[in-house]
């Protein structure tokens, strides 16, 4: 993958738009690079263990991806504006417990209402994060690290030693992840649509572009009159709301919810986002790339399981991918800047 990307040195192209072409090509290669790695992983694993491509396993991987891809969408909105939301795992956990618990307390409660409650819980925490970051001007790393602990703490207080078990949940709820069309889970399709909408929003709406601008150069954003506080606040609110919905999905998939649900997810999500090509210091990357990153991590996780390799390797590989992706992005960025600079200079000469 490194060689693949780096070998694409400036080819000779028509002078006028060659710089545009170069930049666009590099970003396209960056995202298709994830697909290449993904295909390689699937091919090798399937070659070793045919079970990997069984319908049930594909379904398992996709459902697993769904939750991370959703979280990655919200995280992308936050990260492109040079922030980070570390509270998503805790928000997911609290939303998962409180929403699943509703079925026991209010038998017959409509499932859409449960999703709305989960969304509301997430939105609430997202608003809290967004307010402190935007109005208090506190670095988001610190704010969301604090809310990671605070939300988890409150969650533990609420849950205590208890848990929600699958038998208290209605079958129609537990079956949500299992419903498929042509072997593809409905939720996977739904999330793919949501991610596509999110990516389109970030690309084609003023407020979405503002997020990239803020992450690309905060000082310039201020001079350009972009309402930085409002945009950043909104990105955290959306990220929280998405984490809330993801929590309900989590409950449906796993059935058993205790106070540890979603622990550590924030790091997986940030990893997925960065592996998916979103610059950790903001300004570039897409929600589709982040979702692909989530898919890659879920695939690797499952491949190791299917191959009978210790799940310790899972984390090591995720870590390796993270460093690899960040190093790669750094190299690409430096070389791209240099290549663009030289081309501009040559054009001017």
């Amino acid at each position: 993958m490194t060689a693949e990307v780096l070998r694409r040195e400036p080819p000779q192209a028509p002078i006028d738009t060659s710089e545009r072409g170069l930049a666009e090509r590099v970003f396209r290669i960056r995202e298709s690079g994830i697909v290449v790695v993904l295909v390689l992983f699937v091919a090798v694993t399937a070659g070793l263990q045919h079970r990997f491509l069984s319908a049930s396993n594909i379904q398992f991987v996709l459902v697993n991806t769904v939750i991370f891809a959703l979280l990655a969408l919200g995280e992308t909105m936050v990260v492109v504006s040079r922030n980070v939301d570390l509270s998503v795992g805790s928000v997911l956990g609290m939303s998962a417990y409180l929403s699943a618990n509703l079925f026991g307390r209010h038998p017959g409660i409509p499932i859409p209402v449960v999703f709305l409650v989960g969304l509301g819980i997430g939105l609430g925490w997202g608003i809290v994060n967004g307010l402190v970051v935007a109005a208090g001007r506190v670095p988001s790393l610190v704010v969301t690290l604090a809310s990671l602990y605070i939300i988890r703490g409150i969650d533990i207080l609420i849950v205590g030693g208890g848990m929600v078990t699958a038998n208290t949940l209605p079958g129609s709820f537990v079956d949500i992840p299992k419903e498929t069309v042509l072997g593809i889970p409905y939720v996977a399709i739904a999330v793919a649509v949501v991610v596509a909408i999110g990516a389109y929003y970030l690309r084609s709406f003023r407020s979405g572009r503002d997020l990239y601008a803020i992450g690309s150069n905060p000082d310039a954003a201020r001079l350009a009159g972009i309402p930085i506080g409002r945009r950043v606040f909104m990105s955290f609110a959306v990220s929280g709301a998405i984490a809330g919905v993801a929590g309900v999905l989590w409950a449906a998939q796993y059935g058993t919810v205790d106070s540890t649900a979603g622990t550590g997810y924030e790091l997986t999500v940030v990893t997925a986002v960065v592996v998916g090509g979103v610059a950790i210091f903001g300004g570039s990357g897409s929600a589709v790339g982040a979702a692909l990153g989530a898919l890659l991590l879920a695939t690797i996780n499952s491949a190791l399981y299917v191959l009978g390799i210790s799940s310790f390797w899972d984390q090591a590989i995720a870590g390796f991918l993270l460093i690899f992706a960040i190093t790669l992005d750094r190299i690409i960025s430096v070389r791209l800047t240099e290549a663009l600079r030289l081309r501009s200079a040559r054009r001017a000469a």
Binding site: R20, D210, L223
Partner: protein, 563 residues
């Protein structure tokens, strides 16, 4: 509004592409903007006392003044960044109050800074239209229309820039073009350019001037700030000169000579220099030979002897600070070498420079000279930790002894040595930086703008201190933009211009006019018999920097004096 020069702007162009021919826009020759008697102070510092400037539609108006004359403050008032304490601003016949950058934009004023602020990850078109992108159905951004509008503006400006590429990697010149394009797309009728040519090459300057002429032809009023007088003769119709925060004169450029402008900028009666007798300089302690860092400074050779104060004068951006940083080992250099007391210094190693006996008081004391959150005594001891260390530990008591000793010698005013250094005044902070280096007993001390932003009394103390050090045998290389300071303190004055040494004066030869002339590349008016035998106007000889620099730098004798 001249329809002839509106080149397609009047007929059929999309309504929100920057047309200068808007209703309400002043016609060519009418006053587009007038700032009258603006004053602005920051705490006790009066940055602007009487700032006045009047711009007419269809003119390029130069704003001249030395560093600290109040130009930047005036620009920031026009940009809406600062609100003046008093004075009036009239734009297109209406008195306005600018509450912020957005208000300035709405009033039709655009400011292009020396270093543009773009979004490197966004496309050129998006940089121009951020927050105002053209929309299509459903409030979606119309990428096609946005790029077409940007392309249209670049066509009007006559520059081949691709609106679809990302801004990353654009040269400063191209970035400025993007900013100018943004100003046009905003319908700006007043365009302020703050030293736009400072970082440009000759061919880029030529292209910028073409763009500026186009703007003028379309009825814009351009305020053009530059230190290069030849540029002002080339592009500007009128000029306003400022000095010490006050308006000095406004006149047609054609009515003035370069000398008139320089005199108006310097203005004040030359201060009587009084300082004690200096000891005869000793042996050479710092020798810089043919030092080059590509694109920053070229072929710099100079020597500083023990007991001598050598000033490096020149405009901000001429490469002075960069030379100092390279000598101290902060930046790398591509060619040449540095010797301290005859021994070559290792490249790019501040540790090596310190070990060889160099001290460096940087330009920006808050960012580079001090650790603001650490205490006074910790900051003083920072460069002496090796000496204070006992078995790997730093004793607070020895730190304290060192600090109180030097604080007394330099008369630093503080309440407690353990207070954070950020609590001291600017002047006392600068003394702390000096104390930090003096406690190491340096052989060579490099000071970059040693008195910037400190009050007059402390300034005099710092000057006295530098002279005292020289008497004690330290070789001092001082970078300063304040000419009175340069003339007061230094034994020799080297002038840099555009990365090269442009002139050298001894103390007795130097005058403010000559230093400015050398720094701006404005050849001094010389009697006919002494002038180069070509009869060309002065600013044309200066326009060829290679010959001008070569003669100045290579000749061992300094430029001739006017009898």
């Amino acid at each position: 509004m001249s329809a002839s020069s509106g080149a397609g702007g009047d007929a059929g162009a999309p309504a929100d592409v920057g047309q200068l021919a808007d209703a309400g826009a002043p016609a060519v020759g009418e006053v587009a903007l007038a700032l009258q008697h603006a004053a602005k102070s920051f705490g006790a510092v009066q940055a602007l006392i009487d700032g006045s400037v009047e711009l007419r539609a269809g003119e390029v108006h130069a704003l001249l003044g030395e560093n600290g004359a109040g130009k930047s403050t005036l620009v920031k008032i026009l940009a809406g960044v600062y609100q003046p304490d008093s004075g009036t601003l009239v734009v297109a016949g209406r008195e306005v109050t600018l509450h912020g950058p957005a208000a300035a934009r709405a009033a039709g004023i655009a400011v292009i800074y020396q270093e543009p602020t773009l979004f490197p990850d966004l496309t050129v078109a998006e940089n121009m239209f951020i927050g105002r992108q053209p929309l299509r159905s459903g409030r979606r951004i119309d990428q096609g229309a946005m790029r077409a509008e940007a392309a249209e503006i670049f066509k009007r400006l006559g520059v081949p820039l691709d609106p679809g590429r990302i801004a990353r990697g654009l040269s400063i010149a191209d970035q400025q073009v993007v900013e100018i394009g943004k100003a046009l797309s905003l319908n700006a009728r007043v365009i302020v350019m703050d030293e736009p040519t400072a970082a440009l090459s000759a061919s880029e300057v030529a292209r910028l001037f073409d763009v500026v002429r186009t703007l003028r032809g379309q009825g814009a009023a351009v305020l053009f700030i530059s230190h290069r007088l030849e540029e002002i003769f080339t592009i500007c119709q009128r000029v306003t000169v400022m000095r010490d925060g006050k308006h000095v004169l406004t006149d047609d450029v054609s009515n003035l000579t370069a000398d008139d402008m320089v005199r108006a900028m310097v203005g004040r009666e030359l201060e009587k220099r009084s300082r004690g007798e200096q000891a005869e300089p000793g042996q050479t302690v710092l020798e810089i030979s043919r030092l080059t860092r590509e694109g920053v400074f070229i072929d710099i050779s100079l020597a500083v002897r023990a007991g001598e104060v050598v000033a490096l004068a020149g405009l901000v951006g001429s490469g002075r600070s960069e030379v100092a940083r390279a000598v101290f080992g902060i930046d790398k250099y591509d060619a040449g070498g540095v010797n301290v007391r005859g021994k070559p210094l290792r490249k790019a190693s501040p540790t090596g420079a310190m070990a060889a006996g160099i001290g460096f008081v940087p330009e920006d004391r808050r960012q580079q000279g001090l650790v603001m959150d650490m205490s006074v005594q910790q900051n003083v001891a920072l460069a002496s930790l090796g000496r204070l260390r006992q078995a790997g530990f730093i004793r607070a008591s020895s730190e304290r002894a060192l600090a109180s000793d030097w604080a007394a010698r330099l008369a630093i005013k503080y309440s407690r040595l353990t207070d954070p250094v950020s609590m001291l005044s600017g002047g006392n902070q600068q003394k702390v930086v000096l104390a930090k280096w003096l406690s190491r007993k340096p052989t060579v001390l490099i000071v970059d703008e040693p008195t910037r932003g400190i009050d007059i009394a402390t300034k005099a103390e710092v000057h006295h201190l530098l002279l005292q050090l020289a008497r004690d045998g330290v070789g001092i290389l001082m970078i300063s933009s304040e000419l009175p300071e340069v003339l007061l303190v230094s034994d020799r004055i080297l002038v840099m211009r555009e990365g090269r040494l442009a002139a050298e004066f001894t103390r007795s030869e130097a005058t403010e006019e000559r230093i400015i002339a050398a720094a701006t590349g404005q050849a001094e008016k010389q009697p006919a018999d002494q002038a180069p035998a070509d009869g060309a106007p002065a600013d044309q000889t200066a326009a060829d920097p290679t010959t001008a620099d070569q003669t100045a730098a290579d000749s061992t004798t300094p430029p001739r004096r006017v009898p």
